[in-house]
């Protein structure tokens, strides 16, 4: 009897082992390697971090990363909730609309950046249209060191366009798991559609919204291609600095210090993410 029990316990771990070992070798150990490189410096073990923190680029990178997250995420969320509720109305053609909204999910960050450039470039479509209807006399410049706030605006628009589909899909999944009977009951009790939205749908959507928020915050630290291609280092972000220090300054220690900062931020947000998911497991289990 115990023999069988031991064997039964053994099989799933045997099946899991290759994956777990692979992730330890290619994720776990390299993170330790990143930490080793980050603490390796001629000026003591904190040397790289002291150097980084004293630079304006680092302060800007943190500020820009936070600013982009603080502006983009609420807009993405509001837009996604609106779109998800709309699609969930199941009007004629809603399925097609669902796929249309989801399509930017397939695009990488650099592709999104280049697509956005075709619109905002000096000879891009926006300028062409504005020139042809005589709203402006000369093209508006959105890119370049002189126009940082415009670059920021374009990055924000691009990010909203690129990442809203992901939030949308997550919210829609949450919306579809809501029991219709709650809404029907509310209707019986005379709730109008606005009250149903605020009193029933949104509270029940809270877990999905929370997951989407945390996932988006996690991805905010990974923001790279859009910023790098559209603004270069005019607008610094943490990932861009990692890339810059490794590729252009040939300094893997400082690059690793930046990577480690991203890792720590990911761990912190990831911990909250896992905690909200786990608490839901327990709620459902109870």
């Amino acid at each position: 009897m115990t023999q069988i029990h031991v064997k039964k316990q053994f099989i799933p771990w045997l099946l899991l082992a290759p994956s777990l070992i692979y992730l330890i070798v290619f994720m776990g150990l390299p993170i330790i390697g990143t930490a080793q490189l980050a603490f390796e410096s001629d000026e003591g073990w904190l040397g790289n971090f002291k150097m980084i923190i004293s630079t304006k680029d680092f302060q800007n990178a943190v500020l820009n990363t936070l600013l982009l997250a603080a502006i983009c995420i609420p807009i993405q969320l509001a837009l996604s909730i609106f779109l998800a509720i709309l699609v969930n109305k199941k009007f004629k053609g809603y399925q097609t609309l669902l796929y249309i909204i989801a399509s930017p999910l397939a695009l990488s960050d650099i592709t999104a950046a280049l697509i956005s450039y075709s619109i905002f470039a000096p000879n891009g479509y926006l300028n062409r249209i504005l020139l042809s209807i005589n709203w402006i006399e000369r093209p508006i410049y959105f890119f370049g060191y002189m126009f940082k706030s415009r670059e920021m605006l374009v990055i924000i628009i691009t990010e909203i366009w690129r990442a809203t589909p992901l939030v949308f899909v997550m919210i829609l999944a949450g919306l579809q798991s809501i029991n219709k009977e709650y809404l029907e009951a509310a209707e019986v009790f005379g709730f109008n559609s606005w009250q149903r939205l605020w009193k029933i749908t949104l509270p029940l959507l809270k877990p999905a919204i929370l997951s989407a928020l945390l996932i988006r915050t996690l991805f905010a630290f990974q923001l790279f291609g859009v910023v790098w291609l559209l603004a270069g280092r005019d607008i610094t972000v943490l990932t861009g600095e990692t890339y810059y220090w490794y590729v252009f300054m040939n300094n893997k220690n400082v690059a690793s210090a930046y990577a480690l900062i991203i890792a720590v931020l990911t761990f912190v947000v990831g911990w909250f993410y896992i905690r909200t998911i786990r608490s839901r497991y327990e709620e459902e289990g109870a």
Binding site: I31, G33, S132, F224
Partner: protein, 263 residues
Amino acid sequence: MKIIYPLLFILIACFFLGPMFLAFVASITPASEFYDYSHIFPSRLTLEHINKLLFTLGGFRALIVSIEVALISIGISFALGIPAGYAIARYTFRGKDGVKLAMLFTRSLPLIVVAVSLVTVYMRLNLTDTALGVALAHAAMILPFVVIFTSSIFSSTFIEYEEAGMVFGLTRFGAFLRISLPLALPGLAASAIYGFIMSWNETFAASILSIQNRTLPAHILATAMASPDYFKYAMATVMAIPALIFIFIIRKYLISIWGISLK
């Protein structure tokens, strides 16, 4: 009230598809018409930029490397991930929730945090600047997704079928191979395609881990800023079209792929 839905439909469709369409048109606009502001859309179309990007500027080679990397990384992550997904779906054992949460967590770790330190390991193993090296890193990115997604696929295929098969004399492995695997095939295919898109789109690690043998996004990241505008749009088109086709094929699975993190 009825009219509002078609109107919203058109507005939303324009917002999400419009930019892609415009960039695509820009990529087939003749170079001579780029600085001619008199009309918005080109008077004739050309494949010249896409051709040049692919066959003169090394795009095609990068595209082949990209495909190679994606296929190897899907192979690795599936060979390792399917047994793990099956274990999570079919067995109850201590530490299962821990494993699931660990997978969800690793899935949210970006390759950015390991790329630089992988270079130092790869130098010792002679893996720098090889498709295999990039693929090994990409497999680490795809694997947690494959484990989570395949476990949900296997839990939705009926265990009763497998048990019936075992009653008729199949071994557990035989039952898996002949019953669960075929039933799970469409879902597995969808996750392979999604894995392909993940690898196809990954820029950062691919750029750090390769110098000459660059994948397409790494090649674009290194050359886009110095290229004339029409090549930038050609790059967008070449990157976007395969990904869009693939996501269209797996459109029915999108909700379950991303809804999964809610379970």
